[in-house]
Symmetry: C2
Amino acid sequence: MALRVGVIGGGQLARMMIAPAVEIGIDLRVLAEEEGMSAQLAATAVGDYRDLDAVRAFVRDVDVVTFDHEHVPQDVLRALVADGVAVHPGPDALQFAQDKLVMRARLAELGIPQPDWAAVRDADELRAFLDAHGGRGVVKTPRGGYDGKGVRVVRAGSEADDWFATLGDGEALLVEELVSFVRELAQQVARRPGGEVVAYPVVETVQRDGVCAEVLAPAPGAPQRLAQMAEGIGRTIAEGLGVTGMLAVELFETDDERILVNELAMRPHNSGHWTQDGAVTSQFEQHLRAVADLPLGDTSPRAPWSVMVNILGGPAEGTLEDRFSAAMSDQPAAKIHTYGKAPRPGRKVGHVNVAGDDLDDAVYIARAAAAHFA
Amino acid sequence: MALRVGVIGGGQLARMMIAPAVEIGIDLRVLAEEEGMSAQLAATAVGDYRDLDAVRAFVRDVDVVTFDHEHVPQDVLRALVADGVAVHPGPDALQFAQDKLVMRARLAELGIPQPDWAAVRDADELRAFLDAHGGRGVVKTPRGGYDGKGVRVVRAGSEADDWFATLGDGEALLVEELVSFVRELAQQVARRPGGEVVAYPVVETVQRDGVCAEVLAPAPGAPQRLAQMAEGIGRTIAEGLGVTGMLAVELFETDDERILVNELAMRPHNSGHWTQDGAVTSQFEQHLRAVADLPLGDTSPRAPWSVMVNILGGPAEGTLEDRFSAAMSDQPAAKIHTYGKAPRPGRKVGHVNVAGDDLDDAVYIARAAAAHFA
């Protein structure tokens, strides 16, 4: 009988696990938040991932549990583990993706290069950090932030008062130095429960308005030393945090050629969508292999260059279908991936991958295809 | 709303349409022969494709109908068309894939090179054909044959008496000259209802016991003249027969450098499985685009060489899952595709694709991965 992998969360990451699950013969089951989610085709249940009873009912018929997102509460995760369920990544690892303060403290223990940071409980503590860091900093809510939400650049201790007001006993905000970076990179690795780790080439990610807009793979012009450093950081974090499945490490490349860890994600990640059409093993297949404890696949690129451009819902006229058709007609070499989501301005509704021998050509084709949706 | 494509038949070809349907945002629906078929994940109905009522009920909620196989009877197909349903390929085209005598007659009209052939109604007519062709020939039942079934090499007029005995009024068997070929090739093209046609590179197919065992893409050592001739044959047949969707033309390459048409298939075909990992647009995505009347995709290879090796159920010990795991571990660059079918000796249960710069390496990796199942 096929191995049953249950995914909690029905978003596009779960959706994009469907294709490799069918290929390698995994029976994918999805606990979706509601009807009509991106991963609808594999949705076998609808329920609240914060409700232990709903999650327990879902996992009863699966062999392994994994995730579309990192929001399942620790008490739910730990109850599943206590029930004897195989959960990958497990709660001990996921806590570092769920709480940025816990992550910063652990990366410091592991000696991983990262921005200066502090836990701050009030405006005075924030001011003291800013005073020591050129009068500027980035304040983050430790939990629940994504795509630029829960992140604020501040220049005064008072600029996070609204967030301080919401803190409970013993809670704090994270403040980090505002890093002077030349670009952002991302390093992905996959790790099996038994310890096998494979690494993808480090990529360049281009953000717009706090959201990933484009990915260039591998990172153009990256010296081998930097690529090796990024891979070492990825491997050290995967092993040090006990990650199982895919790990994405978002990195800053500084103007003095250091790389510093920005964020972590323990699941397939937007920075790895290029692997669907640009690597021998896509991050979605790799994640399934890793959490199912199957041998990991070749991470080699299929082409010298791969480019991913996100499709954000925009004000364009006509239906999404008409625009897909126009994009396909205009750029037959573009691989268009859709998420089955209603387009709203700024919402990620798909992406375009292009792989080829020439980076400029690939960028042109991917942008030209994506432009039909803007 | 996403375009709804209904596939009649729940085998592995329907299964392999699931991944591209999810990617390009098509709502795939499958009428499966029974529960637990290969395409189970997308099966929205179970029923008999020969039963017009069952088929009518299935197609009520789809925009376009296409097929996993060519066995839907003409009267069912024509009733759907009369109902106003978009059927691709349509009955006028499909008849040529359903009846080899009708196909031979039409190809002759189109001036397509093919083996000498005749319709024979009894042993005397067969004997006359054999006498005129060196005493040998290939007898075929015009309908229902596949993977070597319904095909028999004969040296005497009496060797098809059992088949002659089953013929009804006006029916005949097909006899073809036994072609002295150096190898077998396959040419795939896709055609939209509006007429747009794209062609894949011609490939070499290696048969064992009448079943496709391996495919090498593009056909090694094929002179450009031969590749152009194959493409021309594919395009002429697609246009001449009004094919919509994928067309596969199986060809003989003779020792005097001619190519002759052996068989036709109007659907994705085993000779095109390499495109999943070796071409920019897979034959499964291309078929969906064509039948849905979407712009066709780039047919360029992703790598200089691609190799496909079929996985046939064999006597190997252990579960299929254990063998997949061993194959993955042994050959991390092999792309293993599974059909979700119980292994029986000789039954196609999956295939392995490998793409790369070196043909010998790719063949080695693909065979080594597939060998775990033998």
